[in-house]
Symmetry: C2
Subunit: 324 residues, 2 copies
C-alpha cells in the first residue's frame, strides 16, 4: 500500500500514549478520514467541573496545544485559580490549569443543559480547530472503579491522589453494561479501513472502550485489520502504572500478554525493538507484528510509529486479499 489511500482510520484511544501516536498519525490521514474513539471511564467531577482527561489530552494534542512535558493540560497554562481555590479547599489535590478550566466549564454547563458529551466534544473540537473527529466512547457515564488493597477508589483517586501506590485487586467499569456507544462510534469501526488500538493502558484506557456493549462485537466483525501499538517497552510502560496493574490482574506486561488480552479483536501489533523476542510468538499465534523504536519522544518518532501501524495494517489487508 502506498502511504496515500489507506482510507478511513479509526483509533481507540486513552490519554498520553494515544496522544503521542496521534500527533504522528493525524498529519498522515486526510482530513475527515480520521476518527478517534476516546475512553471516558476516567472522567470525574472536580470542584463541580466535569473533567474528561482523555478527551482533553486528545483534543489538546490534535490542536497543538498540549503541554509536552506534563502530558496533560495546556502548554504554558497557569495555576492561579487552583492556588486561590486552596484558600477555601485545603486538600484540592486535582490540578487544573486556568485555561484548562475553560474547557471543563464549557463542558459542565452544556452537559447540565442536557447536551450529550459527543456533541459537546464536537463543539470543543471545532473551537480548538481540530480537524479529526473525536468521539467519546459513549454519551453514558462509565466509570473505572479501582478496588485496591486500601479500598475502593475512583480512577483519578487511585492514579493522581494516591499516585498508584496501592495494589490493584480488581477493576470494574461501572455503568458499562447499560451504556450505548456514542453516535458514530460503531459506524466508524464498521467503515474503517484500519483500526488502531493506541499505546494506552489496556486495562483502564482500552478495556473500558471494549466494555461498551456493541464495541467488541463491532471490532470482531470489522472488515478492517485491528492493529495495536504496544504501550510497553521491555515490560514497562513509558508512563503510568500499566505494568503493575497488568501483573496484579494476571496479564503479563509483554506483547504476548497484550495479545492475549486483545485476543478476540486483534490482527496485528507494533512492538518495540526491545521486545523483538516476541515477534515470533505473535506471528505463531496469527498476530502479524513489526518492531521499531516506539519511544515517541519527538514528532519524528511519533510519525515513524504511526507509519509502522499504517504499513502493518496495509500488509494484513494485502495478505487477506491474496488469501481470498
Amino acid at each position: 500500500m502506498s502511504r496515500r489511500g489507506h482510507g478511513k482510520v479509526t483509533v481507540l484511544a486513552g490519554g498520553v500514549g494515544a496522544a503521542r501516536l496521534l500527533r504522528g498519525l493525524a498529519p498522515l490521514v486526510p482530513r475527515g478520514q480520521l476518527t478517534i474513539v476516546v475512553n471516558t471511564a476516567d472522567d470525574d467531577v472536580f470542584y463541580g467541573l466535569h473533567v474528561s482527561p482523555d478527551i482533553d489530552t486528545v483534543l489538546y494534542t490534535l490542536a497543538g496545544l498540549s503541554d509536552p512535558v506534563r502530558g496533560w493540560g495546556l502548554a504554558g497554562d497557569t495555576f492561579h485559580g487552583l492556588e486561590a481555590l486552596r484558600r477555601y479547599e485545603h486538600d484540592a489535590w486535582f490540578q487544573l490549569g486556568d485555561r484548562d478550566v475553560a474547557t471543563h466549564l464549557f463542558r459542565t454547563r452544556l452537559l447540565r443543559d442536557g447536551i450529550p458529551l459527543s456533541q459537546v466534544t464536537a463543539l470543543q473540537a471545532r473551537g480548538l480547530g481540530v480537524g479529526a473527529r473525536v468521539l467519546p466512547m459513549s454519551d453514558d457515564a462509565v466509570r473505572t472503579i479501582v478496588e485496591t488493597t486500601g479500598g475502593r477508589r475512583s480512577f483519578q483517586e487511585y492514579l493522581v491522589r494516591d499516585r498508584a501506590r496501592e495494589t490493584v485487586r480488581s477493576l470494574t467499569y461501572a455503568g458499562s453494561r447499560g451504556a450505548q456507544p456514542a453516535p458514530g462510534v460503531l459506524a466508524a469501526i464498521e467503515e474503517a479501513s484500519l483500526i488502531v488500538i493506541a499505546p494506552s493502558n489496556p486495562l483502564v484506557s482500552i478495556a473500558p472502550i471494549l466494555a461498551v456493549p456493541g464495541l467488541r462485537q463491532g471490532l470482531r466483525r470489522a472488515e478492517a485489520p485491528v492493529v495495536a501499538v504496544s504501550p510497553l517497552i521491555g515490560g514497562r510502560p513509558v508512563k503510568g502504572p500499566a505494568d503493575k496493574m497488568m501483573r496484579a490482574l494476571g496479564v503479563a506486561p509483554t506483547p504476548s500478554g497484550l495479545a492475549d488480552f486483545y485476543h478476540d479483536v486483534l490482527d496485528a501489533m507494533v512492538i518495540d525493538t526491545a521486545d523483538r523476542a516476541h515477534l515470533a510468538k505473535l506471528e505463531g499465534r496469527g498476530v502479524a507484528a513489526t518492531c521499531l523504536d516506539t519511544l515517541m519522544r519527538s514528532l519524528g518518532r511519533s510519525t515513524a510509529v504511526a507509519r509502522a501501524a499504517l504499513a502493518l495494517g496495509a500488509t494484513v489487508r494485502e495478505q487477506r486479499n491474496l488469501a481470498s
Copy 2:
C-alpha cells in the same frame, strides 16, 4: 463619643462604593462588632458559575485582595481562562479572572449541594481571613430586573454587557416578596449601635436589601441611628449609572433626593462638600447631616469618611439621650 466603644456596627452594602467605605471602617470597629449585610440582587450565573459580585467585592476588599483600579475582582488576577473560554464561546462578555473563578467554583458547588449562601459566604470569609461578618441579605434568590427602552435585562446585562447605555423604565426585585432575610441579618440590625447605609447605588444595591420582607421594618424599629453615606458628589456618582437611573425613575440625584428615597428609615447623612447646600435642607427635615470630601481615592480618605459616619451616628445617639 470616643472613637472606641461605638458598639456593634451594621452596614448595608452594595459593591464598589461600599467597599471603599469598608476599607476605612473595618479597622475602626473591633473584630466581631462589624456586620455587613450585602446586596445579592446582582447575583447571576455566568458560564455555569454562581457569581455574587457585591459579596465578592466586599470580601476581597476586607481581605485586602481587591483590585484597586478595576473596582472588582482580585488584584493582579489574570484572565487566561476567559481568553481560553472564548475559543468555545465567542460572545463571553462577562469577565472573570482566574483566581476569581475559584471563588465562584467553590460557591457554585456548595450551593448545588444545598448549602445556603450565608454559610458559603461565611466559609469564604474564613478562607480569605476576613474578620468582619459578611451576610448576604437573603439566602433566597432575589434578582434585579431592569426594564429598559430596549427590553428586559438582568442587572449584569444592563450594566456590563450593555454598559448602562439604555434608559431604565422600571426596576423589579424579582423574588423579593417570598425571600427571607438570611440568618443573622435581622439580629444584626436590632442589636446594632449604628447602622450605616453604604455609598452604593440606592436603586440597585440598597433598595433590593430594603425589599427583603422584614428588613425595612427592622430598620424602622432599630434603636441604632441609621446613617447613610451619600454616593453622590455634586449630583454624580463616583462610578456607575446611579444618577441616570435615579433621574429616570424620578429620584433626584442629590442628598435631598436620597433622603426622600430612604425617608422612613434614615436618621442622618454624610454628604460631600460639593453638596453642602443640602445640609440645611436635610436638617430642616430632621435628617442630621455632616459634610466632608467623600471621594475615597485613598485609604486615608476612606478612614475619614468612615470616622464621619461613626461620629454622626454618635451625635444622633447623644441627642436622643438628651431628649429622652
